[in-house]
Symmetry: C2
Subunit: 217 residues, 2 copies
Amino acid sequence: MIMEPRLYTTSADYVYQELRHQIVTKQMKPGQRLPEVNIAVQMGVSRTPVREALRRLASEGLVLIIPNSGARLASPTRREMEDTYAVREQLECISVGIAATRISERNLRRLDDSVLEEEKAFEEKNLELYLEVNENFHRIIAESSGNRVLAEYVENILARTNAYVVFYDPFYDIDDNPSIAHHKGIALALKEKNSEKAVKLMREHLKLSLSDLNKPA
Amino acid sequence: MIMEPRLYTTSADYVYQELRHQIVTKQMKPGQRLPEVNIAVQMGVSRTPVREALRRLASEGLVLIIPNSGARLASPTRREMEDTYAVREQLECISVGIAATRISERNLRRLDDSVLEEEKAFEEKNLELYLEVNENFHRIIAESSGNRVLAEYVENILARTNAYVVFYDPFYDIDDNPSIAHHKGIALALKEKNSEKAVKLMREHLKLSLSDLNKPA
DNA sequence: ACATGAATACATGCATGCTATCACAGATAC
DNA sequence: GTATCTGTGATAGCATGCATGTATTCATGT
């Protein structure tokens, strides 16, 4: 499996992606302090781009910044996760509902591809790839809604919820991953242009994702 | 009327608020370039806090940043505004629906106060105050939902839509402002704990707000 | 007149150093 | 023992300078 290198245009972008990577791959503990200098030294850059990356992560709710005090990794409570999923449900349901009425053939194919990749990543137990592809599935749907603003918000909340992986293990039930089956169902509903069905399945899918957060990390 | 000074903890925060003020009070044209140095000189600070403020505004969709090139004020198309309002409708409807089931007496009073202030600001034709109070009405409801994440997203989209004031004149119909009447209706529905009614009124209210964007600036 | 390309002016991205503020430990008072 | 004060170290906020990339202008050729 060839891991394509992360692409970035600026140092700040690099730091952002790298930090996000470290969070998702459980290299950091929720609530831990994130001093600018430490990160700067570790990544071989100055504090400036680190500051920028931290603020971006803060806008996604992954990092908490206290003025004049510093940044620390978020440590969402069970309640906060539920709240986040409540919002995500709203955004994604409207997103998939609209997408069903206007998704292009090309995006339907991209959706199928993404499900295939997802299965592969799951078999290989490649956590990072799995999350990335999983996220991509939802991203394609949001894009297909044709509402740019909506897509932007979905993107933001995907970043939040994906970080919650720190709290659970998506490979816990070794042979069983209903999530992929759900994605297949949603993709099918979109092919059929069945808006109601797509929304219903998406809602169920997200309820399940939330309950997954109970699986041991 | 005593205009309380804007409060801020850091220079970056000051620049952020000041820029936002200038946008809302129509001192800047949509699409105009926003060079860091210009702003820095104008506000008597260095480029660093200006950069930070610009990125924050970008996360609210008010400013467009092109890497290595610069920032410019957003110039949303009619389509983008509609898209934004579609998202806002989703977020605010769920927000007011939940709020109706659990809003505190204290917040009900704050809501009433905010409507009164709104009427006063409208009579005085005080644009900035009017917008601030208007925004506050929606903010109180979002807070009352008890969902912090939802409140955060509502806050963000309020910032976006309020900036659209650049494109229209809320005092265009001199004697008539149905928006305030709507707010009264929503506040009443909340008092009655009538969730359905509150959602319905909020939806109508936002549809109207969107159509208001046709009024000449 | 128009397109192409080089030169120049300009703006951003980043590194670095200084200053103001905060967090924490130890001391002091009660 | 608890609470409050105080000093010291650590950390973020900001200013500044340099390097890099972008936009604009103007010359050149067709």
